[in-house]
Assembly symmetry: C2
Homo-oligomer: 540 residues x 2
């Protein structure tokens, strides 16, 4: 028997487009004489579709398209596709289902048992779950079909229902999933699929989706693992791939694992480029605009955007103020020259002056303070948004995770845009990624990478005037955010008490800024999409 | 036996402040010879504390303060307080617990069984749950103590564990909760507590918190219901109240219910005033600023803010442009005169002109369009934020739910601010509330209530140029958002197909604006805090 895996990238709600992709994979697999072809979780409608599941038109339309797929497979092959399925007892919570289609008909519908615990999916809000499953028979083989990558799935025999089915000696397990990318998540995924195989003593065919559904980026890396738990094949990351596997060959394969070489920083790079690309493609935009300050953050966003959209489609706007250093403009110009991407210089002096004059009667007798710093940042925000409106360019935001964590940024100034491409990377990771980008040739000018970070909103300002050094800040933030460590536990790592208290206090206080933040591309275990500190509270 | 209910308003993380309030209620109840005094769910630390529960310092500090309360009760009376309690098996997910304290010691700790299903609380993310409970004995009486208002609690005898305890014939049920206000929710709450009493044939003492924890407003309305399901006493809404009840009297009370008269619009009014008041009080600010356009939305926000903070603490800024009508300025000035609140007039002509000049080289050859409309709104946003920064006034946002739903507002312009006081009220509800405010005397000038709504960003613009009439729009929105009705179901109500499709399309598309929206005061069954449409998708 030949089993195929179609690792594809869908658009949520784009039933026609997704159908066209699915048909094309069916054609490919049919030519290669596949018997069964797997598509990822929710392949028909795209995932995660959140509130759309509450509305019956979405579920009904999904079913309509499952039927179209069934028609299309007739006389070709069997397929497994994912789509919601109405729960007649809870109409606003359909099941997250896998449809086994053969001979042009839906033969079986299997529902997801363990809804995802990932907060970004919040599946319990949208889907009903079940604890029953079925053994499916096809062309003399028996198999278990299940959905998702919940750890609870691993020991299938924990469930008496599934135990019954395992006793019927299935030949393999088919798993269709939508597993999101996170740094180093490929290891966990490999381990998960291997355990699923080993502990049930069955080969596993794991079909994952790829592509960005902001804030989530799915990474593909679909896998076939034999009954001994050896990876027979791991498909590529962040790419469409359709592969057909011979069940007999897999069963006979020994313990030699077929693993692709993986470098974490390269995955992060590819994830972000795909994230930007998909955001534009899927929302129907082609062109981006961003404020290019001469600093490292906007430099990185520009490079990633150029890779995603093409140099000609990314407009950099340099908006120097009286506090901007000469090297900022020069560094920014050097970068756009390296990239051969368009730019505009729009100084903000006169707008700044007009605002100050307009506000002078109200501000009479008050000293210059953070107001004027924020004002400059907000003028830049207004200019970018105006350019966005007039030229139909989408504003890319350049905030990083360290800034977002501690609230070091001006609301409606630094925080404006449609997509925060690097807001899930700490400042130290920003530098690391820049070095990766420059690994073969200097794309990002060296000077951008060596100068001290500065917002340049007041004379000789440096980030280090207000914040702990980024290496310390980022380590403490990572312990607090990613690892959920308490203040006490973080102090055990040997950091200075005052610094740790200051950082934690800043993180908690900055919630009001994060509440209004730009959509982020999530690449960490815990992004700020998944944190919720109370908006109003006392520090304790 | 005398049982007291302390209906109080806490600040999240303000352990000292909450302790002081709790002590003061203990003193009051002790003087009135109460035997047991109830405090609401999570009274020690404030609720909902979201991610803070993941950090052991928060849970540890909560426990410390429970012990302080225990010390304080010695030789006085027994109390029930709410606080998280460490789950040694899942340290980042404590229990949501009730502490029964008597004779100066913690006698029993009971954990919440059914975690709240309300999405705004997302309790499963923060708390462990249990399915065991205990019968508590005190001064010759036996009682069940439980937490929260999940419907699953009603038929206590559904759980075999609780059944055992009910067989031991308790004398009453104590319930401590944090039940949020929603329009008409008082009815549901009454029914819930009454059923809890009737179905278990026991008197119920229900202690609810009150006060705003943005986005949620708790309404109090604590209750005592006798074993026949008659409300013996319902405490007031949105107010502190400490009441002592005689158990024997309640048991003897018949079926005469003691219900306070309730008018929904009055509750909404009181909820919003308290919401604004608490937001400022709890975050340590005193003064507000808002843009007063002469339209009905900002007029309403101003009136509510004046009621919450005092006229002298709310600065109105009039920011006319060349498209502002004369009556806008006049109407706004009439209103501030009625309220005797301060105002400033800051015309935006010159800033608008400077921006246009600055952008002229980039915009060469392009026609005037929505860019210039948005620019005006964003200039106003920048001005308000600058005033906020310089004068430490907090910006109140004036968006309404109809606008937020369909995205009729400029990002970073109309959408700026720290608190969206009326963003959970549809436009038609805005008018209703204005009429309520004017019920005895004209506070909001009549002309504001009768003129056609307009953003005044281009010549002779009216909202009705771009949107369906508000009465239709709001009805359809309510069916779609509050009632989760599908397009097909909404059409059954007889609305025009094109209009319904247009509205639903706008709602789905506007998610990118709502993603960056200002914190809202939730007063409806389903606010936009609780909706999640995919950010990137195709309309289908």
């Amino acid at each position: 028997m030949k089993i195929g895996i179609a690792q594809q990238n869908y658009i949520i709600g784009d039933f026609e487009g997704n159908l066209a992709q699915i048909k094309s994979a069916i054609d490919t697999a049919y030519k290669q004489q596949a018997d069964i072809l797997l598509f990822p979780e929710m392949s028909v409608c795209g995932y995660p579709s959140y509130d759309l599941n509450h509305y019956s038109e979405f579920v009904a339309r999904s079913f309509q398209f499952v039927e179209k797929i069934a028609d299309y497979t007739k006389n070709k092959l069997a397929v497994v596709v994912g789509a919601p399925n109405t729960n007649t007892l809870a109409k606003d919570k359909p099941y997250n289902s896998a449809y086994f289609i053969a001979d042009g008909d839906i033969q079986q519908i299997v529902h997801k048992i363990h809804l995802s615990k990932r907060e970004v999916f919040n599946e319990k809000e949208y889907y009903s779950s079940t604890n029953t499953t079925k053994l499916i028979q096809y062309k003399g083989k028996k198999f278990l079909l299940h959905i998702g990558d919940d750890r609870k799935n691993i020991l299938l025999s924990d469930s008496s229902e599934i135990n019954k089915i395992l006793n019927m000696k299935p030949d393999f397990i088919l798993n269709i999933s939508a597993t999101p990318f996170e740094q180093d998540s490929y290891r966990e995924k490999r381990n998960y699929i291997k355990r699923l195989a080993v502990e049930n003593k069955l080969p596993v065919f794991y079909c994952n989706t790829y592509g960005a559904q902001v804030p989530i980026i799915f990474d593909g890396g679909s896998m076939v693992v034999n009954a001994d738990g050896a990876i027979f094949e791991e498909m590529s990351f962040f790419k469409e791939e359709i592969r057909i596997f011979d069940l007999e060959k897999i069963s006979k394969s020994g313990n030699n694992e077929n693993l692709q070489p993986v470098e974490n920083i390269a995955l992060v790079h590819d994830a972000l480029v795909l994230g930007i690309k998909d955001f534009f493609l899927k929302s129907g935009f082609r062109k981006a605009v961003l404020g290019l300050s001469g600093g490292v953050d906007s430099a990185l966003v520009l490079v990633l955007a150029v890779k995603a959209l093409g140099a000609e489609n990314v407009l950099s706007v340099l908006m120097p103020s009286e506090y901007s250093s000469d090297h900022s403009v020069k560094d920014a110009l050097d970068l756009v020259k390296n990239l051969n991407s368009p730019h505009q210089i729009v100084p903000i002096h006169s707008t700044f002056e007009t605002f100050n004059n307009t506000l002078a009667p109200i501000f009479e007798g008050k000293k210059q303070d953070v107001t004027e710093e924020n004002l400059q940042a907000r003028i830049r925000g207004v200019l970018l948004m105006a350019i966005s409106n007039k030229l139909s360019h989408i504003v890319l935001n350049s905030s990083n995770k360290s800034e977002v964590a501690v609230g070091y940024g001006t609301l409606y100034g630094d925080t404006c845009g449609a997509l925060a491409a690097i807001a899930d990377l700490y400042k130290t990771q920003i530098y690391e990624l820049c070095k990766y980008i420059n690994r073969e040739q200097e794309i990002i000018p060296h000077h951008i990478l060596v100068k001290s970070p500065s917002a340049e909103l007041s004379p000789n300002q440096k980030d280090s005037d207000s914040l702990p050094p980024y290496d310390i800040l980022d380590e403490v933030l990572c312990l607090y955010i990613e690892n959920n460590l308490s203040e006490e536990q973080i102090l055990l790592h040997g950091y200075d008490t005052e610094t740790v208290k200051k950082i934690i206090g800043l993180v908690r206080r900055a919630e009001f800024k994060r509440h209004q933040s730009v959509p982020v591309l999530k690449i960490s275990k815990r992004s700020f999409v998944e944190t919720h500190f109370p908006l109003v509270k006392r520090n304790f």
